[in-house]
Subunit: 105 residues, 2 copies
């Protein structure tokens, strides 16, 4: 079970998180992760309406911004929200965004 490179919690930048969340496709990914806890990239991409390479680009953006954590299991890559890390760094931010996006966070 490998982990892809992620920024440390203290290196997560507010403007980068906001930027990552400001794209509709990425916000959709995040709201789904809020509901399903974990998702494979394949599942996430199925209903996004963009090419898989585009989806992959968004996964990377979210990961590099520190919003999601990605681990590899077999040939699957599994994403999850970095809830605790984000809450520690920017208290209340993720919750308010999720509730603003009509997700029962």
């Amino acid at each position: 079970m490998r982990l892809l490179p992620h920024p440390a919690t203290e290196d997560i930048q507010l403007t980068e998180v906001l930027r990552a969340l400001s794209d509709p496709v990425r916000l959709e990914i995040v709201t789904r992760l809020a509901v399903h806890k974990e998702m494979t990239c394949s599942d996430a991409g199925d209903e996004l309406g963009v090419h898989k390479s585009t989806a992959s680009h968004h996964y990377r953006t979210l990961r590099e911004a520190g919003v999601v954590l990605t681990r590899q299991e077999g040939r699957l890559k599994i994403m999850s929200l970095r809830r605790d890390d984000l809450d520690a760094r920017f208290p209340g931010l993720l919750d308010s965004v999720l509730s603003a996006a009509h997700v029962n966070a």
Copy 2:
């Protein structure tokens, strides 16, 4: 005392607000507005370190996203945060962003 065109509260879009706040210069403007309540564009621009036309572009972006309200008094334009509108539409969002930006909201 004239008002410039602004989006109605119900037309404020989450992704546009996040996008507006994701630029360091604009986030700086917003954090100053959180402290000073009202600012002329001239005052705001003085310490931003960008050309006044660049600053003007950011004012417009914030206004069109529904983050700030701009009114004209004489030859001054005065900006203020749309706190109530943003709170009504996206409860807690602005506060969490401001506190994340180290502002005693």
